[in-house]
Amino acid sequence: MKFTAAKLELSDRLQTVLSVISSKTTLPILANLMIDAEGDTIKLSATDLDISIATTLSGNIAKSGKTTVPARTFSEIIRELPGDDVTCTEQNNRMEIKAGSGVYKISGMAPDEFPKLPEIKGASQTRIPAEQLLNMVKKTAYAVSADETRPALNGVLWQASGKTMHMVATDGHRLARYTVDDNRLSGVKEDLIIPPKALQLVAKMAVEMEDEIGITFGEKNIVFTLGNTTITSRLIEGPYPSYEQVIPKDNDKKVIVDVAELTGGVRRVSILSNSLTRQVKFSFSKKGLELSATNQDVGGEAKEKIPCDYDGEDLEIGYNAGYVLDILKNLESEKVEFSLSTSISAGLVAACDGPMKDGYLCLIMPLRLAD
């Protein structure tokens, strides 16, 4: 194999591919990236077996061929090279990199050792505005579970529902659902459970795109196409728990609080919360909302009063401060409404204004208050 390519573009593409390669891997070949030069296209691909990425760039190919090289070392060399162009020559899986007066050689591994990327044939396809997908991921993926015993919760649920589609994530303690009026998923695919790493990778790359993202739905995989780059991810096997059942329907205790005041209060009070539970006690009354926390390790006690709009009976609920802050951060509103029932049941948190007023549902389970 021998090709010449623009150094900056090659370096850029390598950065994209590197995002899939994990720093510690059990299979040495997974630390390598595949280079496939054919016609006038250089294809770079990498995989961690769950997610694969492939991207192409054009180049001057003197001799076509395939090889794999250690991804990090190769990209580091390319990044540091002077000049505009770089020429790579491979023989017997040994890669020589030339730019300016510098010559670098590294050993690769045979391309047939590289895992085959899944091929998706005859699958259904759709296109989605990049910004929309980005938003859906950003508003939900934080709630994904890391619990290996419940694999379905390790993914984000993407679900068609009539003329709308939802993205849902939950770790069993909190739940986030973002709904958009878009029927493009309807009839294409039912429930999809996607690893958040893939979605976050797509979102990261979509930030720079205004375009639409192409999506191909396979039986066991999903493929996102962003310009010259495709990201293929394994789908997580379902079923996803029937989360609708746990969304409370008649939480009639409504509290409206200022988001900035609440965020600041929770942040400060939680400094003195128990480091394991991060419990902050929310005491709602007609007089206002009192936040309090204690930490026995440092003999700490914290209390703050925040005005709130509430005319129900007094109610005390313990929440994990981290969960509350995660939600508040994503509301993009000035005021937040809590819809509550009891101190041990799920509470709903929603934006009162702003772009997330409709279609964004957040659920949070309390911590049982110690007697």
């Binding site: 579970s145 069993g172 313990g318 041990i344 799920a346």
Partner: protein
């Protein structure tokens, strides 16, 4: 062994030497008005066997392996002792002395459990407890006696508690030092209670031959006898300088011991281990290839581990399976979950999942199985509630609590989970 300084020897007898413990200079060893209880369980192992098999009560029993093998007697019941059967004696010799002696096996697991329960009882009487063996312990009760009226009443209540809770008798000695307390507990056996004040020491301990004193070995005994000391009382009243001349500072230390004035402290043991993980493993019988047997063993191991976690009030969120094939190749597989737990069945379900993934459909024989739970933390009393919590968790908790309470009361082997029985002891 002689050769070390007297201080080493005294420490060897009286205290577990600690690396960072500052050695006291001889002159500093002063009597500080302590009150110490020594508890010695009566024919401990034999008594436990009698509880388990009530028909053995009153009969001569020896705990140890059967006389056909080359075992020794670890304890003899009092009826057996009347025939001269003693612990440490070969089982053959025991059978010769007392042909009707009944040999019973020793279930160590049950014994350690009862010993742990005993320590719980001791802790109700004093924060400072040193268990020197499974059936002996020292308590520092300095300043505690008035809570019970008198030292004698404290001793009686301690004995009653042990009798009521565990149906065991013990002999209790109370005195100013550990040595004297131990001597006191041996004055009346079984089921005795002896409080020794200074007068009692003079009357009961001092007439005893000096060789009976804790710390006096054969060489020291010879040296003491050479200068004319025959009884413990002689030693207590012998002029210090003469003892020093013959035995050095060890002589002075022995004199304090004989007077009941030495400063040996009750060394309280550290509370639950600060382990970051708890585990149990078992080597399987060679023929045990059956998948059911393996699962039962895993069930049993989960039961053991979670029981221990609950006893120390721990919960964890990483479970590791260890599996060794008969070719000694060993694999370990771990899984981490988000919610901390001490639920036996929940952890078993996870272990089972890991095991299934590891062995697949194979019937390859397994040599050893182990289960560990790590990422341990002290249980919090305000748990995070879950959206998908179901009644199973609550049911498991009720079962676990019930099983724990039975075992607390009657011992570990009183109840088994049906499924784990095949794989249990």
């Amino acid at each position: 062994m002689f050769g070390n300084s007297w201080q080493d020897r005294v420490d060897g007898f009286l205290e577990k030497p600690e690396a960072n413990q500052k050695r006291r200079p001889p002159g500093a060893a002063r009597f500080r008005g302590r009150r110490i209880v020594h508890i010695d369980m009566d024919a401990y192992f034999a008594a436990l066997e009698e509880i388990k098999n009530p028909h053995l009560a009153g009969k001569p029993i020896a705990v140890g392996s059967s006389p056909t093998s080359r075992g020794v007697v670890s304890t003899a019941s009092y009826p057996a002792r009347r025939y001269g059967v003693r612990s440490g004696m070969s089982t053959r010799e025991a059978l010769r002395l007392c042909p009707q002696v009944i040999f019973v096996g020793s279930e160590l697991q049950q014994y350690t459990y009862v010993s742990a329960e005993l320590i719980n009882i001791y802790h109700k009487f004093s924060p400072s407890v040193q268990a020197t063996s499974v059936d002996e312990a020292f308590l520092d009760i300095t300043g505690c006696a008035h809570l019970y009226g008198s030292e004698e009443q404290l001793g009686r209540q301690l004995k009653n508690t042990i009798r009521d809770k565990l149906s065991l008798t013990c002999s209790v000695g109370i005195a100013s030092t550990k040595v004297m307390a131990k001597v006191a507990s041996s004055v009346f056996k079984p089921d005795g209670l002896t409080v020794l004040d200074q007068q009692g020491i003079i009357q009961i301990v001092h007439p005893l031959p000096v060789g009976k004193l804790w710390g006096v070995g054969p060489s020291t005994l010879r040296a003491l006898e050479e200068i004319g000391i025959k009884t413990i009382g002689d030693l207590a009243h012998w002029p210090v300088d003469k003892l020093r001349r013959r035995l050095g500072s060890f002589g002075e230390a022995l004199r304090l011991i004989a007077r009941g004035e030495d400063d040996s402290r009750v060394l309280a043991q550290e509370e639950p281990p600060q382990d970051k993980s708890m585990s149990h493993e078992r080597t399987l019988p060679l023929k045990a290839v059956s998948r059911d047997y393996q699962l039962a063993t895993l069930h049993y191991l989960c039961d053991r581990v979670t029981r221990r976690m609950r006893r120390h009030n721990y919960e964890g969120r990483t479970v590791t399976l260890k599996l060794r094939w008969t070719d000694f190749k060993t694999i370990t597989r771990a899984i981490t979950f988000s919610q901390y737990t001490d639920d036996t069945l929940h952890i078993y379900k996870i272990v089972k999942g890991i095991w299934q993934a590891a062995v697949g459909e194979s019937n390859k024989p397994v040599r050893l199985l182990g289960v560990a739970v790590s990422h341990l933390r002290e249980k919090v009393n305000n748990p995070q509630l879950g959206l998908f919590d179901n009644s199973a968790g609550r049911r498991h908790k009720i079962t676990d609590t019930f099983i724990d309470s039975l075992r607390d009361k009657y011992g570990e082997s009183v109840i088994h989970r049906a499924y784990s029985h095949l794989g249990s002891d």
